[in-house]
């Protein structure tokens, strides 16, 4: 079964006033267990699209099935949100309590989890993000990366099938980014469906599949190698290629041809070493 299957998705924030739609006839397919990056410049519609996956935005036109549930059916929205967790951009705006354990319990109590199960579930979720023992800490005392890991634990505690990261690294320092990226990869390895919304092309490189968006349309969808090495496509999406791809083309212009276009820094190093 597919984790996300949508077609003809259309969305406009103010259709009555003739505003340009943010999503125009989108076709999206994400398989279970996939690590997908939805990549695009600011205003491309990636966050609006992701918010359809857990019904935070109402489906105006089209059809969308997420984890077997029809998003158009308002009666299943609450249940859908238990299956599709979302980590937002700013960790500070996600906490409802001054204690980590109480914050994690918030979602569990919303879903009427039996009281005796709650401490175990909290412990498990904190262990999953390597934050064991932080139950009695205030989320606001932690570093950016730790805060975002707690926000992720608050999502994981509900044991969702799909986890959405809405630019979850954009407000973090490099260390924090690495921590959160590490968590995403770990979740993917454990078989979860991970959807990462990002405008950072170097992060999209880490995904298994890339959906490239521009001005409410999907420009391309495929492996990072296929999408992120295509300079014309990236130009259309108003994005710069990843560092390794840029290097490949720069070297090519100077007459140095590598065997294949690298995507990651390590691949570039490998290709350069083979030149000798």
């Amino acid at each position: 079964m597919d984790a996300v299957d949508g077609r003809g998705i259309y969305y406009s924030y103010d259709a009555d006033y003739g505003d340009e739609p943010v999503l125009k006839n989108i076709r999206v397919l994400i398989r279970k267990g996939e690590f997908t990056a939805v990549l695009g410049a600011n205003g491309s519609g990636k966050t609006t699209l992701a918010r359809h996956f857990n019904a935070l935005n109402d489906l105006q036109r089209g059809q969308l099935i997420v984890d077997g549930m029809n998003v158009a059916d308002a009666s299943c929205h609450w249940e859908l949100r238990r299956h599709v967790g979302m980590v937002f951009q700013n960790p500070d705006n996600q906490f409802v309590s001054s204690f980590v354990e109480e914050d994690l319990a918030f979602g569990l109590k919303n879903y009427e989890t039996p009281e005796r199960e709650i401490p175990q579930r909290i412990k498990k979720a904190l262990a999953a993000v390597s934050m064991d023992g932080y139950e009695r800490y205030s989320p606001h005392e932690l570093s950016g990366g730790q805060k975002q890991r707690i926000a992720l634990a608050a999502v994981l505690v509900l044991e969702p099938d799909v986890i959405l990261f809405d630019e979850a690294t954009s407000m973090l320092d490099p260390g924090g980014r690495l921590e959160v990226m590490g968590q995403m990869k770990k979740l993917h390895r454990e078989g979860n469906t991970v959807v990462m919304i990002t405008h950072d092309i170097e992060e999209a490189v880490e995904a298994e599949k890339v959906i490239l968006m521009s001005r409410g349309n999907i420009l391309a969808c495929g492996t990072p190698h296929r999408v992120l090495t295509d300079r014309t496509l990236l130009e259309q999406a108003e994005l710069l290629p990843p560092f390794a791809v840029q290097m490949y083309y720069d070297l090519k212009e100077r007459g140095v041809c590598l065997a294949q276009c690298p995507l990651k820094r390590e691949e570039l190093v490998e290709e350069l070493c083979q030149l000798n």
Partner: protein, 257 residues
């Protein structure tokens, strides 16, 4: 100033609901106090409460000291404007009289006691515990169609956002200073004007944050119709009964004094 302090004191162990009920009795006692004996009783109650809560006198002293300007203003207002009768000193509309002195000192002491007891409540009760307690105590309002769960959640989240918004206001203020804004000098009118460029961005940021928090809460299954009922199973402990009886006794004694 208004933050929870983790601890293992008797007050920390008490239920939020009990503490709120006790706070209500003590609040009534503070408002009813108008004799030296009454203030002495409040002094003893506050001292014992600070010791039992394990907050520390220095910490409490700092909390009170932060509001020294406010206390001075209310004392001086009462001292100069309360009563011209039997005045020690008079000049135009200003009179210093024994009654004014007594009134000023009384008001300041009442506010200090209110601050001390509020501080004890907030320092020993987590916001979530406080929300749960409020939710239970406000339950009768449900008869009038008021959603007490939502009301309690609003209060809890509002408390949660105070330190974040104050940090944000400080950052905006510093950014304005870096661009040449002056907050410390000039006339009162100029100073009031200079506050606007800080207040507006803080409000905008607060709305943006509130919007994102609402989405995050919705994404974690929060529903208006399904208010959380976390502490509804009422298990009353001996210390809770003792605390309510003691605070009620303080209030009754205050009425009798």
């Amino acid at each position: 100033m208004g933050q929870y302090m983790p601890g293992n004191s008797v007050f920390h162990k008490m239920r939020g609901t009990t503490k709120l009920i006790c706070f209500f009795w003590i609040l009534t006692a503070v408002l009813l106090t108008d004799s030296a004996a009454g203030f002495f009783l409040l002094f003893l109650t506050a001292g014992a409460s600070i010791a039992l809560a394990g907050i520390g006198l220095r910490n409490m002293g700092k909390t009170i000291a932060r509001l020294k300007v406010f206390f001075s203003v209310i004392f001086l207002m009462n001292l100069f404007f309360f009563s011209p009768e039997q005045a020690w000193w008079s000049c135009w509309i200003f009179h210093i009289s024994p009654a004014g002195f007594e009134q000023g000192a009384g008001v300041v002491m009442r506010v200090v006691f209110l601050l001390v007891f509020s501080r004890i409540l907030i320092a020993t009760t987590t916001p979530v515990e406080l929300t749960g307690a409020l939710e239970i105590l406000l339950l009768p309002l449900g008869v009038f169609g008021i959603s007490t769960g939502e009301l309690a959640m609003i209060l809890s989240v509002a408390v949660q956002f105070i330190p974040i918004l104050s940090k944000e206001a400080d950052q905006i203020r510093k950014a304005q200073i870096a661009r040449g804004a002056k907050f410390e000098s000039g006339h009162l009118r100029d100073r009031a004007k200079s506050v606007l460029p800080v207040v507006i961005p803080v409000f905008l940021a607060a709305f943006r944050r509130a919007d994102e928090l609402a989405l995050a809460m919705e994404a974690r299954g929060y529903r208006k119709t399904k208010a959380q009922r976390k502490q509804c199973k009422f298990r009353v402990h001996v210390r809770d009964v003792q605390a309510v009886v003691l605070s009620c006794a303080v209030c009754i004694t205050q009425i009798l004094l």
